[in-house]
Amino acid sequence: MMTNTGQRVTQGQFSFLPALTDAQITKQIEYALGKNYAVGIEYTDDPHPRNTYWEMYGNPMFDLKDPAGILMEINACRKTFPNHYIRVTAFDSTQGVESVRMSFIVNRPKDEPGFRIVRTEGAGRQMHYSIESYAVQDRSEGTRY
């Protein structure tokens, strides 16, 4: 039994929950700011799970004290890229950690067609498997969703 039949990309935190409301996003950002994480906003239209580096929307916001400013940026990003995946990341710069601590998706395209398995036959009929997004296939950026 599959909990996720492939329609809804489940990358990052809270991805199995229904979409977070603005109030809930504010609470998460409040938590991140309280821990002195640098909050950044990223977007992409390539949902492949190995796509780690999304496009950055502006610089990470190191010096903000209040989530309202970050929410302003998120809404601006949603207006600019309404049909892209947008996520909020929180980077912890303490020595020894220096990595992303939180990352959750705040905007999804209206239609998420999911992934298909690509089967490649190798030498001696050996099968190699990988996945490909229906939305991407051979379309260029910006024309996928």
Partner: protein
């Protein structure tokens, strides 16, 4: 975001006995806050009056909320006008603290900017610059010094108007996220507001900072000296009173700032006087400023009206 003010503790919600405002005033810590303000800021009656009004509204709002009545936070954008050295920047910093303690702003930090921080140098530069500043100021107070420089109607390539537009939009739409305080000289601020009715209508509180009186300046001097661990002896106090009286009559008097400069020069003379001493200095000597440290000032010698330097 809800409009409640959670920062003030008072009668617990749902208690049956209605609390009298005076009791709530004392129990919620607002009285202590206002008393502290009274002690640390000399004079400034219009400012203290306004802060008292805001605190009173907060308390009454609490009582209204207990009765189930509507209580939306008031618009808190302000404009401070007055001569140099009258405490506009100092009060703006305190205002951020006070509003945070009253619960009207969330984080209570102050971001102080001038025109340069808001206006860009080329097309397309202004909007991101202003938005960055606004983002940093969210949850606190944005203090714009010399706000009238934003508007330069005679230069059509000036991007100040764009910054004003963005400010106006955020001041209106995100009133519970940000408090904006503009400051500057009265006549130029009046011109600025006259040509920007949108800005004028969004500023709910226009507060004028009057010049300090002789007595207030003496009190400020005592406060400053106390903070620096100095004191005047009896003669020095009299001499300083005379100094202030003479200096006020001379041009370019900058109120509290001139007092601070004068005290710095007095400290220099005090140091020079003690510098050549062959014996170890006592604590008494190190902290006491004497009349001769003050009377050496040129203010006592020259009565010339052309004197433009502080001395």
């Amino acid at each position: 975001m809800d409009a409640a003010h959670p920062a003030i503790a008072g009668a617990p919600a749902g208690s049956n006995a209605p609390v009298a405002p005076r009791a709530l005033f004392e129990s919620s810590g607002v009285k202590a806050l206002l008393d502290k303000l009274d002690a640390e800021l000399i004079g400034l009656a219009p400012v203290k009056g306004r802060i008292r009004d805001v605190a009173a509204l907060l308390l009454i709002d609490k009582l209204r909320a207990e009765q189930g009545l509507q209580s939306t936070p008031p618009s808190l954008h302000m404009s401070f006008t007055g001569n140099p050295g009258t405490g506009k920047t100092t009060v703006a910093m305190r205002m951020a603290e006070v509003l945070k303690q009253l619960g009207y702003v969330r984080k209570g930090h102050l971001v102080a900017v001038t025109r340069d921080d808001l206006v860009g140098q080329f097309i397309g530069h202004t909007a991101p610059k202003t938005k960055e500043v606004l983002k940093r100021a969210m949850g606190g107070v944005l203090f714009i010094d010399e706000a009238y420089y934003l508007y330069r109607p005679e230069n059509e390539r000036d991007y100040g108007q764009e910054a004003i537009e963005i400010l106006l939009q955020v001041m209106e739409n995100q009133r519970d996220d940000l408090v904006v305080i503009l400051a500057g000289y009265k006549d130029r601020m009046d011109t600025f507001f006259g040509s920007n009715p949108g800005m004028a209508s969004r500023i709910a509180h226009h507060i004028d900072f009057p010049d300090y009186s002789q007595a207030e300046l003496m009190q400020i001097a005592q406060l400053m000296l106390g903070g620096l661990n100095y004191r005047f002896d009896a003669d020095a106090e009299g001499a300083f009173a005379k100094y202030v009286h003479l200096r006020r009559a001379q041009p370019h008097f900058a109120n509290a700032r001139s007092i601070r400069n004068a005290l710095d020069r007095i400290r220099l003379r005090h140091a020079t006087r003690l510098f050549g001493s062959n014996e170890a200095l006592s604590r008494e000597q190190l902290t006491t400023l004497q009349a001769e440290d003050i009377l050496a000032s040129r203010v006592f010698g020259e009565r010339s009206k052309e004197a433009t330097h502080e001395h």
